[in-house]
Symmetry: D4
């Protein structure tokens, strides 16, 4: 396996038929398959051929796990934090990715910086996370505020939510790259998968420790 | 007078000689002269010709007021808020502009969003202002947070402070234009003068009331 | 209440069902609800569930006011000025926002700078406003001209009207940020709501005076 | 001659020595030489070798005319209009280019749109021009207003004057390209020469008439 | 009349009903009406209400002329030159605009720079024009080559034809603004109307001479 | 302490005097001080006032550690990988930051993708790292290749090294944000500090485990 | 023939009717016709009129060859290499273009840099090519790696595949232009035709030698 | 050797000392060393340590060849074509690179498209080249015209020569990427080295033929 655990398929721009054939090939070699950015219509066609797959519509994710994959018993959890309801799809892409890959996720949604008290009301839960994924569109300021409040790594995910001088997410992307808070790194606009995946890599390191990672090399 | 009170000169790109000659012309027709973006070197030459002018080096502002201009007794005050010490020049351009034009100014500096508690510690003073000028570079997230905490108008001033994907202030500018908080409007990058001037216009309206503004038309 | 008066919902990207459920929650806690950027189709569904709401199609605004909200008796008025008929939707978003929030609005439409006399013919009405919202697309030059003619604050709203090197409103946005006239601040492209909301904040300050604003803090 | 009359040399990036040698070659074949964008330092070196050349420092232009070139007796004049004193170098590059190439020029300077009455005070002189060159930086709105006031062609010249979201003249350039007024065409940022040259071509057409231009072909 | 001759309506974004009502208003005050960027569908609705209007589908122009408007007897002609067949709509917008406004037009199409001999084969016709409108997409190099071959004014019209790093016409626009040839000015991307209109203004000047333009002032 | 361990000062744009006074304040409250982006000239002035500070010229970092800070005995190490010698300053900023903050660092330099075998020759050392910081300018492709070869988190740092269509690091930044390899997150252009800091946060998590991080909250 | 062999038609934006009429004209003068960017729908209409044409749907290419065109017996081959399955359309446009124009093509697909071993597994085949066309979207890093592994010319073709900060292929384009590897040149985003065509020109030179190319001049 | 023949050093951003030490290392392993972008000052220091190196100031290239490297006897030649004298440095970087690497070069300079006849006067020499390198700044149209006139490969090199909307070479770069002429590929802005190097690779292929290239693999 290239990335340590499940095989990932980027569903956008692939036909249902292509996804079925790739999935079947991967299922025989791996014990997990995760397909991102797959619409309900395409997922339903795939589900006919692969009825043991599970579809999460909000996250636009279709996945399968070998029954032998034991339940995760990682300590700690990943906080997935988002600013507004329009960022939901991307936040859920991060959260479901992380859950499918075996991490526990706490969702802290609708805590944008324009109403800072909603964020502060959840401070304890955020600060006790092992790692945070912070999803925000429009001005994208949330990771800066979260980054200043926690001492763990923050993965910032800009979204294309907004209009006008938002320029399809450029505004939030630049905000996050320029953050004054330390401990923040950024993935592509709308890349909820990347946010979740990076968080899982870090979560797993926290679990198994620095010395033990060599045995998972490909 | 074109803008209601003092005549303003944009000092950048003008020689000390040009500034002296414009200043002298304006002083004979107005009771205030305000020169922005004037370096110490140029200011010192102008001060030799116009010894009753006053220079503020941090703000890079040179000004003169007729002694007849009575002390401002406006109620309320303008909060000038800034994120970091690098934003000081622009914040002071706003603050000094407002003071020269007759407003009372409270400075609340170094309260960037990466350390939100410093901002919250000053909440009372910020919330009781008549209008706020919020100056920030890098990610430029401060106006969004302030805007969510106050119910008065916020003038946001992006600065060019930063590097890399900051693109000379573009990052902070886009952040502010895309703010989720209501009640925020934006001026040009590094335009501390514009921030201060707009705040004074609003402060004066709050003072004299909506009905009375017609007698100041040019 | 976060912003002093009504609760605002950004309708774009929300389903009618989501809007109904948010509206009902807000109606129980607030005495006004204002939904912007809501299409006729969605509004009609919401109106079935909330028959006491009112829809303004040009402004794409749906709103509700508690009968206890007394009629506004603010002195003065907001001038909403726009350049061409294509800017109408944004101008009306500003005007209706301001009216719903309790301000008196004078509309001065179709007075673009390419026919400066139409603007000058309305000079008196513009100059006596308490605050102006100036909406313009294409070259976006109107706020500069208005700003030079009035001594009150001008909120400039760039629109995405135009084609080619207009780049979806970037042209008008940059024009307004670079205005030579003092007293202008800018909101996001097509953000008529922001223009109207900022104007109301200023109008209310002009009405109740600088000292009295603390009792509306959240 | 390639362009109908004088040979033009773009002085920027050429050494004084290169300019001298090109000038001498051209002088033997043409009856006019016009060198633009040449600094005082370089011009003084060239003038030692070519003492019959004339240098205009504001316009940064060095030129020479054969004594046989008769004085222009074109009817009409070119209006060179500019917004602020910072645009002077570019405006003078346009004006001096036009004068050297034989046109009469009326300068109407410091008539920016933020003080529209200064422009209107010069309306008669502007409207009676054969063609106008309108030079403006910052928001670059002047050509739109002039274009709406005249029925002759307007050549718009954006300048790089400004800061922040001006992006080195991009703001003024986009404004001019998006003008709502008809009859405006645009040259490169800071291209005063192009503005003057185009105006002269049009002025000469107005003088000699449409039928007569074929005898000047190269 | 604002612009000297016909009233122009920008059809895009207006409903057929709006166009009918504006047209009828203008027809009573002017002797010509020209509507640009109007689709076949909308034009057919307008034609039912205004059966004496004429529609040109390629140019997407609908127009009407009072029968009293005498046939143009201008000397000379405008050359409308374009690079490829994809630029046809914009080239025809320029050509038809010029014809409706009374100029004679010579069309020289499909003479892009990648096959320079096709252009050179038409050299005589191009050089004898009074003014040229040069329309080109993709790399937009045609105006530079034409500008070097003629001694009359060239109006360059970039089109959005192309893909990839063309960025919707930005490529052609920048090429034209940076042309090394003198005597070129530029209008907005896809603005065939602007190209034709500017050419007519110049053509009319060439016809009636520089002294006579004052009597057409508005 | 805001970020868990040392206080960080961004040296750029601050005078030596400002740095001295901030450093002294911080030294009394913290057991580490780290100043980034400080030139040799400024560092030498600070060192006179603070002789127990240590300066690393390549990294442009000045730091101080309380003698009580015990030597790090973290397991594992951070790989700092860079493409070319021009990226050295940024790579060293990352490496020295990580070392000062207590991590072991392996430097794998000059292994750009245009000579992939140099990278593959170091594969074992790279794959056994706990976390990698990958620094690259120009095309910025290195993180993608490394990300595909390792199963631990990769922090990508674009640099502004290059010219032309590099646009001051934009090219490398976009490359990294668009990486096809999973497990990569990105910091600002030239932000070596951010790369090192994020790596340390992750390294420490790997060391102390997921459950134990709450006691370091501020 | 303008380009040495077949006539090329750019099918996008042309109607089936236009393509039929151009094809018939060209078929009478040339012995090959190649139409790019033509959809299945349009191709089927053209095929009714021109039944001896052949359509390749993946490449979106329709072509015809005179039976007299002898089979290519060029030595060597062109390697067409691509990163992922989403780049297939562009890669096939390059490959089919090259084949129709008479070159032998080896396809090496799905060898993106995030799994470098797949690329290295094909190293021998890549290194023995005469020239390579390397097609990649998203981060576009593949040409840099290939360029470092071969000593023949590499034509890099960026694709618009990706999302977010990919900006429709800008990311891959900039990556390729900034490549550290020598021997790489770049064509427009998604321009598979250009990649294939350039490779054929080079392949033919390698075949017939440097001295012999003059007899193919137009 | 990585690229088949000489080792190349990018001199910019390296000290003379670094260049000396790299050069000495390479000289012992290779029979050629080529250093690009090295200023006269630095070259003079290097020449003291390496007196058998040769410096070309216009091209800013320093190089060394083992005496055993036999004189090139390649058939054919590379045409290096440039638009204006300001493009000279880049054109010479291409030409000298090609010469040092063993190709014969014909220089055809100062043949910009604004004076197309100068180009056509050199047509025969251009058409008989094996490959052309076409260097142009400002509008960058020259490669399109050349590409339409020749049937051999054209390497286009945009330069940063120009001002205003040239945006440091972006204008010429986009022009070249969007060329309508087939057979053109593009290197980075100001990358004369890349132009020359690619041309040499092609020239050598034309010389040795397609089958023989495998023995030069690294
Ligand atoms: N939503 C996503 N956004 C970005 N990259 C993704 C996403 N989903 C999957 N990927 C990446 O795409 C790769 C699979 O691409 P493919 O082979 O085209 O299916 C995975 O290894 C992931 O690195
Ligand atoms: N720092 C500043 N930034 C932006 N605009 C300014 C600044 N200072 C002055 N201005 C504006 O510039 C005008 C004066 O410009 P000028 O006539 O060139 O001196 C004033 O009326 C102000 O509107
Ligand atoms: N195709 C066009 N492109 C750009 N501007 C146009 C076009 N057609 C008309 N105009 C301009 O738009 C104005 C009319 O705009 P409107 O009042 O919105 O109909 C005219 O006076 C012209 O200046
Ligand atoms: N897919 C393509 N991408 C870019 N240029 C192309 C493509 N296909 C054809 N061309 C170019 O377009 C020219 C034909 O354009 P046209 O005359 O509009 O059919 C050809 O000579 C090619 O140079
Ligand atoms: Mg933190
Ligand atoms: Mg607020
Ligand atoms: Mg004003
Ligand atoms: Mg006009
Ligand atoms: Mg010409
Ligand atoms: Mg990995
Ligand atoms: Mg190579
Ligand atoms: Mg060719």
């Amino acid at each position: 396996k290239r990335q340590g655990f499940a095989e990932i398929i980027f569903g956008e721009g692939k036909t249902a038929e292509q996804i079925i054939s790739i999935s079947e090939a991967l299922r025989s070699k791996n014990n997990q398959v995760l397909i991102t950015r797959i619409s309900k219509e395409k997922a339903e066609i795939v589900l006919k051929a692969c009825p043991d797959f599970i579809y999460n519509e909000t996250a636009q994710i279709l996945y399968w796990k070998d029954q032998e994959v034991s339940d995760s018993n990682l300590q700690g959890y990943i906080a997935v934090i988002c600013a507004g309801t329009s960022d939901l799809r991307v936040a859920e892409e991060a959260a479901v990715t992380a859950e499918v890959l075996g991490s526990k996720v706490h969702r802290i949604y609708d805590v944008g910086v324009a109403g800072i008290h909603r964020l502060l009301n959840n401070l304890d839960e955020i600060q006790h996370a092992t790692v945070s994924v912070v999803v925000a569109g429009m001005e994208g300021a949330l990771p800066s505020v979260v980054g200043g409040l926690v001492s763990h790594p923050v993965i910032a995910v800009p979204t294309s939510v907004g209009y006008g001088a938002n320029f399809n997410g450029l505004s939030a992307l630049l905000t996050m790259l320029n953050s004054c808070a330390s401990g923040i790194s950024v993935v592509n606009i709308d890349n909820g998968f990347g946010g979740g995946y990076n968080a899982v890599l870090i979560h797993q390191l926290a679990q198994r420790g620095a010395e033990k990672n060599e045995d998972t090399l490909f």
